[in-house]
Structure formats: structure tokens, C-alpha cells
């Protein structure tokens, strides 16, 4: 299946610094259409399109909007999560760099639907170089009169991975320490400043304008039964052509990394960055959709020359560094997994260490407060499932001496 461009249709076509080039490509037509509709009609359209959140969890976008719209609150907020911290993703950067106007249009429609007067774009700290362009785009849209109902403010992160999680992101916007809040209450009822808040990924909001313009029925034709539309994926690692690809949901992993990106001698693929799943080369025929294993848009390919334990160890080192330190399983557990993996690297591990890894991983997945802790042992669990021999080879060699 070839690439299909819905989200990225304007990337490379328009000049991201000039709004008139965007207006030539039917820019803000969807906003004009949406502003003539009632908020309920907009939400109904998005709900009918079955658009699912592109940040990783795949929560239906329409339900989120409806929840926030109906929740009682003096003020409502819409946040665009552009804190793209996941290891190996760069899709949001590509979108923001090439087409900030579609995002602003999506935010304008979302704010109209939810009834928010204030919207935030939470930009990753490392993406500071996009700040002036993004603010320029907001200013131009405002000057052209496309944002009569909402103020869009760009907030910068400071480089914490955890602030990509919705609750920690809100704490960060409030000026507090970037830490998880417990759920429930969910953001749709008590989010930013305890007010109903909708938080959407950049890519989710990019899908809104095409849906409003072309209708939910059109969007429903694309994709699989439970995952509609396309997905922008960042392919990196041992591939001939790394980069951003937009594929129809349901495309197999093989079509993406072998046919499009040109990977050879694949050993394993990490889908969804540091907290993502690891799949072995035998599973390349799995379709990429929310019902299978898709999360954030990172696809990292490792070829035969790479060592599984090194990959997992590096991943866990990263997560131990980035754990916020609030809940005990994640704070203590990530570091302990790193320590146990170091034993495998040094060759001092015993069979008991594999059992400990399994017990610890499952407890962390069950008890952690947020998605980071719950998904942190994914790479350990999956590598133990598909590459158990790699662990067994690295165990302490006990020599049996014949008497």
C-alpha cells in the first residue's frame, strides 16, 4: 500500500511562514464550515469519523470533546500536546515545521467544539527553533480573523520526557513540578486548573480540518474497521531511507519498513519508542493499527548486528533517568531493571535474574501510577518473549568439570 497524504498534504507545498500560501490550498475552509455549524454538530461529525487519538492511547477524539463540552466548568481549555518526547519520533516536528497552519485550524475547530476561550500548544523544549515560526503563524491567523473565539498560547517544555503525559503536561503548564496526577478525575472533567480540558496530539488536530471539510463518511473509507484514517510514522534506525511516512492504518509493518524505508536483515523493530513494544523479524506481517500494537509514531529498526540486551538496557537507562519519581514501582523499579540487565552484560547473571525481571515487570505494569511506569517494562517483557536465548547466552557460565 503506498503512502497516502492527509495529514501531511500541505507539507512541502506551502510556505510555513506565509498564510496566503496556505489559504490557496483550501486553508481555513474547514474552519469557516465549522464556525457555521453548532459545536454539537462539529462533535457529532468528529465522533462519526471514528478519529482516534494519535498520541498513542488511541482514545476516540469525539468522545473526549463531548466529555469536556458536557462537563461543568467556568472555563474550558484545549491543549495541543507538541511535547514529542518519545525516543525516535520526529513526526510532530516535521508537521510543525512544514504546516503550522493546519494545526492552528484544528485547534480553532476544537476550541469552537469544546467551548474553550483559551488554547495552549505545549511545545517541546528542544523545539525552541520552531517557536518564532509557530507564534508567527498564530499571529497571521489572528490578523486574518480566523481566531475570533480563542487565544492560542505557546508554552515551552523544559525537556522532561514525563511532561508528554497529559497530566504531567498540565501540571507543567500550571507552573508546577512535572509530575503525574492520579486518575480519575480525568482531564475532560478536571484538567488544567481543575477545569474541563481537552488534550490532543498534534497529529489528531491535523486530522480535524480534513474531516470537517470532507465529511466523516470520507474519513471512514480509509483504514481498518477499528482504526480509521492514516498515521504519520517516524522511521529510523537501520533503514536505507529513514524519515516521516504517512500510511493508511492497517498497512503491514513489512510494507512500511521494507518496501518504503528499505530495511534489510531485520532483527527486531521497536514500535512506539522507549515505552513501546518490541517485535521480532517473524512478525513483520502484523498490520499497523490501534487494535494491534500501534502507539506513538516511532518505528525504530535494528538489524542483525545489534545486540538485544544492549538495546533493552539503553531503553531502560533512559526510562530510569526520565521517571518522575512519584510512585514507588516506577521510581525504584526502572533502576533495578537496569541493574539486573547490567549483570547480563557483565555475564554475572543467574537464571534467578530472569525470574526476578519477569516478576518485577509484571508488578510494575500492574501497579504504576501512569503510563510511563506501566509501559516501562514493555521492552524487557517483549525481549524475554522473543529473544530469550539472548538472555540465556549471556548468563554466567558454570563449568562442569568431570572428575
Amino acid at each position: 500500500m503506498p503512502e497516502k497524504r492527509i495529514v501531511l498534504k500541505n507539507c512541502g507545498v506551502i510556505d510555513p511562514r506565509r498564510i496566503d500560501t496556505y489559504l490557496q490550498q483550501d486553508g481555513f475552509k474547514a474552519w469557516q464550515k465549522a464556525s457555521a455549524m453548532t459545536p454539537e454538530q462539529v462533535i457529532a461529525e468528529v465522533k462519526a469519523s471514528n478519529l482516534r487519538g494519535r498520541g498513542g492511547a488511541g482514545f476516540p477524539c469525539g468522545l473526549k470533546w463531548e466529555g469536556a463540552r458536557n462537563a461543568p466548568g467556568a472555563e474550558k481549555f484545549v491543549i495541543c500536546n507538541a511535547d514529542e518526547g518519545e525516543v525516535g519520533t520526529f513526526k510532530d516536528r516535521y508537521i510543525l515545521q512544514n504546516d503550522p497552519f493546519s494545526l492552528i485550524e484544528g485547534l480553532a475547530i476544537a476550541s469552537h467544539a469544546v467551548g474553550a476561550r483559551q488554547a495552549y500548544i505545549y511545545l517541546r523544549g528542544e523545539y525552541r527553533f520552531l517557536l518564532s515560526q509557530l507564534r508567527g503563524a498564530i499571529r497571521q491567523a489572528k490578523e486574518k480573523g480566523f481566531l475570533p473565539h480563542v487565544d492560542i498560547e505557546v508554552r515551552e517544555g523544559s525537556g522532561a520526557y514525563i511532561c508528554g503525559e497529559e497530566m504531567a503536561l498540565m501540571e507543567s503548564i500550571e507552573g508546577k513540578r512535572g509530575e503525574i496526577r492520579y486518575k480519575p478525575p480525568f482531564p475532560t472533567t478536571q484538567g488544567l486548573w481543575q477545569m474541563p480540558t481537552v488534550i490532543n496530539n498534534v497529529e489528531t488536530l491535523m486530522n480535524v480540518a480534513p474531516i470537517i471539510l470532507n465529511g466523516a463518511a470520507w474519513f471512514n473509507q480509509i483504514g481498518t474497521e477499528r482504526s480509521k484514517g492514516t498515521k504519520v510514522l517516524s522511521v529510523s534506525g537501520d533503514v536505507a531511507k529513514p524519515g516521516v511516512y504517512e500510511i493508511v492504518l492497517g498497512t503491514t509493518l513489512k510494507e512500511l519498513i521494507v518496501d518504503l524505508a528499505g530495511a534489510k536483515n531485520i532483527k527486531l523493530v521497536q514500535i512506539g519508542g522507549a515505552t513501546g513494544r518490541i517485535v521480532s523479524a517473524s512478525m513483520l506481517d502484523t498490520p499497523l493499527a490501534f487494535e494491534t500494537m500501534l502507539s506513538a509514531g516511532a518505528i525504530t529498526v535494528f538489524d542483525e548486528t545489534r545486540d538485544v540486551i544492549d538495546i533493552v538496557h539503553r531503553t531502560m537507562e533512559f526510562l530510569a533517568e526520565e521517571s518522575c519519581g512519584k510512585c514507588s514501582p516506577c521510581r525504584e523499579g526502572c533502576g533495578i531493571i537496569v541493574n539486573i540487565l547490567e549483570r547480563f552484560i557483565k555475564g554475572t547473571a543467574t537464571p534467578k535474574d530472569i525470574t526476578t525481571l519477569e516478576q518485577l515487570s509484571s508488578a510494575m505494569m500492574l501497579t504504576s501510577l501512569c503510563g510511563l511506569g506501566q509501559a516501562a517494562p514493555n521492552s524487557v517483557v517483549d525481549s524475554l518473549k522473543y529473544f530469550r536465548s539472548a538472555y540465556e547466552e549471556r548468563m554466567k557460565k558454570v563449568e562442569v568439570v568431570a572428575r
Partner: protein, 225 residues
């Protein structure tokens, strides 16, 4: 408030809407261990020891901050829950300094109590301890952060009960720590004559400054046999 009926450990129990699973369990005489829960103060959900199994939930849920909803089927002491609690307590013990025999709070230590209840001995995990110097500059509080399990009770006690806002969290991940100002040593300039946090501390991280031997009154008692 309307009563909500839930099934807890196979028994139908009811409670007013809005209360948490932990509160309902307490009302019904079911003991769920906790380390960071403070009655009457907003929960933080940081220790995760109070997790329970709720049917239909992907993960275990912490009972201290999860409100009850109609038709919930809750297991507070299933094997899965007990094992998860054990792992968490072992994780906490793996980074705890483990000098119980010379700890002032050894016999009233909540961490030890929970560990004994769950039948936890030596942790199965590699030991990685935090070591911080003992802060005994303040005449009111002695802090030994090597014993801290980061339950944040002292922060909440200071903020919500004493309203003094002396403590806060600093650093990240394994290195996170309860800090005073910009990670200063607790001295009498920042915190004066209150000590409300000491009884809240579940471990010996906060304690009353011990009187040194020479301060004790009277001549030394010598028993002759």
C-alpha cells in the same frame, strides 16, 4: 448522598457516593495496608501499596484515590494483589538504608509493619541504597533522608496542617528527594519550633533530636551486684 453498592471480597457493601475504596474498606473492617495515605488530606497515590483488584480494570488500582462506582467488583487481598504489594514493599526496602536496629522509630516503623504483614523478608532485588548525610542542625527535627521512602506525608503535613510550606520535592526519578528551599540543610532559620511532620513520617527519616549523653540529668547509675 445516594448509596452505592459494590462487591468487596464477595460481599455486598454500600457506602455514600464519592468515598474511596480504601475508606469503604475501612468502614467494613477490611485492612488495606497504606504508606502514603493520610486521613482527611488529599491523596497523592505515590506509594502504591494500597492497590486492589477491580474487575474490568487493565491494571490494579490504588484504593486511596479511586472513588467507588456502582457495581464495582473489588478484591482487596487476592494473590495477585498480595504479590504486587510484596514487590512494592521489597522495592522500597531495596533502597531503604536498613539500619533498623539503631533506628529510633524501629518499633513504630510503618514500613516494617507493612513488610511484616506481607511476609516480606530480604528483598529479591539488587540492593541500591540512597545515602544522604544526617541533617541534625535543627534543634527541632533530625532528618535522615537515607530512610525516606518518599511518601510525601511530611510535605502534606507541612503544607496542609501546619501551613508552613517548608518541604517540597526536588530532583527526578530515583534521585528525587524531599528538599528544603534549594536543597539546603534543614536548620532553625527555615523551620522553627513545630515538628508537626515527625509523627507523620512512616519511617525514621524524621525524628526528634536525640539528647546526647551529657545532656541527661543526674549522675550515671551504677548497679552493683
Amino acid at each position: 448522598m445516594a448509596d452505592i453498592t459494590v462487591t468487596m471480597n464477595g460481599k455486598q457493601v454500600g457506602g455514600p457516593a464519592g468515598i474511596t475504596i480504601l475508606e469503604l474498606a475501612k468502614q467494613n473492617g477490611i485492612d488495606i495496608p497504606t504508606l502514603c495515605y493520610l486521613e482527611g488530606l488529599p491523596p497523592t497515590g505515590s506509594c502504591r501499596v494500597c492497590v486492589v483488584e477491580v474487575e474490568g480494570s487493565r491494571t490494579l488500582v490504588a484504593s486511596c484515590h479511586t472513588p467507588i462506582s456502582a457495581g464495582m467488583i473489588i478484591q482487596t487481598h487476592s494473590p495477585k494483589v498480595l504479590e504486587a504489594r510484596r514487590v512494592i514493599v521489597e522495592l522500597l526496602l531495596a533502597s531503604h538504608c536498613g539500619t533498623c536496629y539503631m533506628c529510633e522509630k524501629a518499633n513504630i516503623c510503618e514500613l516494617r509493619e507493612v513488610a511484616v504483614d506481607l511476609d516480606v523478608g530480604v528483598p529479591r532485588f539488587p540492593i541500591r541504597r540512597r545515602f544522604y548525610p544526617i541533617e541534625d542542625e535543627s534543634p527541632y527535627i533530625t532528618r535522615d533522608l537515607s530512610k525516606c521512602i518518599l511518601c510525601r506525608k511530611c510535605i502534606r503535613a507541612c503544607n496542609e496542617v501546619a501551613k508552613k510550606h517548608v518541604y517540597a520535592m526536588g530532583y527526578r526519578g530515583f534521585d528525587s528527594k524531599v528538599v528544603v528551599d534549594f536543597d539546603e540543610v534543614l536548620n532553625k532559620e527555615v523551620c522553627r519550633d513545630c515538628g508537626i511532620c515527625i509523627p507523620y513520617c512512616p519511617t525514621g527519616a524524621l525524628s526528634n533530636p536525640q539528647k546526647s549523653r551529657k545532656d541527661k540529668k543526674g549522675p550515671p547509675l551504677v548497679i552493683k551486684g
